[in-house]
């Protein structure tokens, strides 16, 4: 058995749904299917080539049967928006162990139009969240995920301007991406003056809400070399996953997420690379405070330095650490589980096919978060097999 890391497993297919944004003509399961069929076409593979399936939202067999695939390996890991980071990691382990050869990972969500999404509409009031969060109105993401931010900012002498700088930096990337939903130039002042959603957050500090999907196909590096699109293969160098509490109030430290620290440390360790090796960074940004937490918890900057780092332009086009180069959840798209789109952008960048291409991007770090401050997944990809 070879290592699941070190480039032994490759992404050979990666695609999003053809449309993105407002798609009321498609149900959730059809968004999965279209993304999967686009990824199969991208890889030059047929459904019969797939022997493993992973998804979050619907059950794995709902997706595989819909597509006419008979899997011998299934993964329904559901930890919210970073589920797909964990799927990549689990698929790599399965492929390295011989439990699967070619794995399809799908995401589809009718996050805006809510077509075929009925399973998620019921309020559950007897879980930890149902008893200790929902009675206080902390139901919607903007009324829960956002609550720790003020403490993070306060303890670092930072403020709302630091949140606004994140939104502005990512809008600069979105302006270069025709598929991004929010593409209008915006200033820090305009972000601060935008419609308040949940103080300290205004509209532009919160993600867009869209319909869409994406899919990935992973196989062995050996098999990737035999495919027509071998030159476009992207290799998994390292990965990590971690979790903390099922309700936000129980996170160990309000100003730093242990799951970010642990998952990213394992990704760096398994990849055998350092921060200086990272050319491109994706930080799951449902809200503007998350890239600030991640920059610090992943160790790209020191404690309290994230705001100044973003404000310096380091993460913008032309900066030293290009971050969220599709525009991110704040400006590109956010179906409800954004992790798949963060991975898609990393693959595009490493293939040299991104709308806002970072010149010479060879190693990309992707950080996901799920179930608010519940779980985390980290992936490190490279354009070449080490």
């Amino acid at each position: 058995m070879s290592s699941m890391h070190n480039g032994n497993v490759a992404v050979v297919g990666a695609a999003e749904t053809t449309g993105l944004g407002t798609l009321p003509e498609m149900s959730m399961i059809e968004l999965h299917a279209e993304a999967a069929r686009n990824a199969l076409a991208d890889a030059g593979l047929a459904p019969s080539d797939i022997d493993g399936i992973a998804t979050a939202g619907p059950l794995p067999m709902e997706v595989s049967h819909h597509l006419g695939i008979t899997p011998r390996w299934l993964d329904g890991t559901m930890v919210g928006g970073c589920s797909f980071m964990l799927h990549v990691r689990h698929a790599a382990a399965a492929i390295a162990a011989g439990a699967a050869t070619t794995v399809l990972i799908t995401h589809g969500e009718s996050g805006l139009s809510r077509v075929g999404m009925d399973r998620q509409s019921g309020l559950v009031t007897d879980t930890a969240s149902g008893q200790f969060e929902l009675p206080y109105g902390a139901l919607m993401p903007f009324a829960n995920f956002t609550v720790p931010a003020l403490r993070f900012l306060h303890d670092r002498g930072m403020g709302r301007t630091d949140l606004a700088e994140v939104a502005v930096a990512q809008r600069e990337w979105a302006m270069l991406n025709p598929r991004a939903l929010r593409r209008k130039p915006v200033t820090v002042g305009e972000v601060l003056e935008a419609r308040p959603i949940a103080y300290p957050f205004t509209r532009d500090m919160c993600c867009v809400i869209t319909d869409g999907g994406g899919a990935l196909i992973l196989t062995t590096a050996g098999r990737a070399a035999d495919l027509p699109a071998a030159a476009r293969a992207v290799y998994l160098l390292g990965s990590g996953e971690a979790s903390e509490a099922p309700i936000m109030s129980q996170m160990e430290d309000v100003g730093s997420f242990g799951a970010f620290r642990r998952a990213s440390a394992e990704a760096f360790a398994t990849a055998g690379v350092t921060h200086a090796d990272i050319d491109h960074l994706m930080c799951y940004d449902a809200f503007a405070h998350l890239p600030l937490y991640m920059l610090e918890d992943l160790g790209f900057v020191g404690r309290g330095e994230s705001g100044a780092f973003v404000a310096s332009g380091a993460t913008r086009p032309g900066g030293t650490l290009p971050m969220n180069t599709n525009g991110g959840g704040l400006s590109y798209t956010h179906t409800g589980m954004y992790g798949m789109f963060a991975i898609q952008e990393a693959i595009r960048q490493l293939r040299g096919e991104a709308p806002a291409q970072v010149r010479g991007a060879r190693v990309s770090f992707v950080q996901g978060v799920g179930m608010y401050f519940g779980a985390a997944g980290s992936l490190i990809f490279a354009s070449e097999k080490p």
Binding site: T125, Q131, P135, G137, L139, M140, T146, A149, R151
Partner: protein, 142 residues
Amino acid sequence: MADGIIPTPTPETAPYWAAATAGRLSIQRCLACGRHYFYPRSFCPRCQSADVEWTDVSGRGRLISYIINYRPFPCTHGAAPQVIALVELEEGVRMLTNIVGSPAEPEALPLDAPVSVEFEPRGELKVPVFRLDPVLPLDAVR
């Protein structure tokens, strides 16, 4: 927010909700390691001891973080902004809650402000919420 979501107690959490409904904040303490913990469960999550007890606590704490939600749920037309906050009790446990009795404005809600518990009716239960302690005028301090 008397029309908010009504929690459904489970066997492990029933004593918490019964106490709250009677106007007491009661949380669990581990008799083996001596520490309080939250949310309710049948054993101590730190030392794994099942030797735990329910204890009424003072209900005093401090404001750790918050948002002012301008789109409160349920989305009643014209609903006033709601303060959703993290409060840390003197006993060391942290809870999500609402801050009541203060204007929903950042100037009125300084972090680390001392807060005290009170109880709001919710269906046949009551839920713990918190209010900022009154700031004593300088004369009273002197």
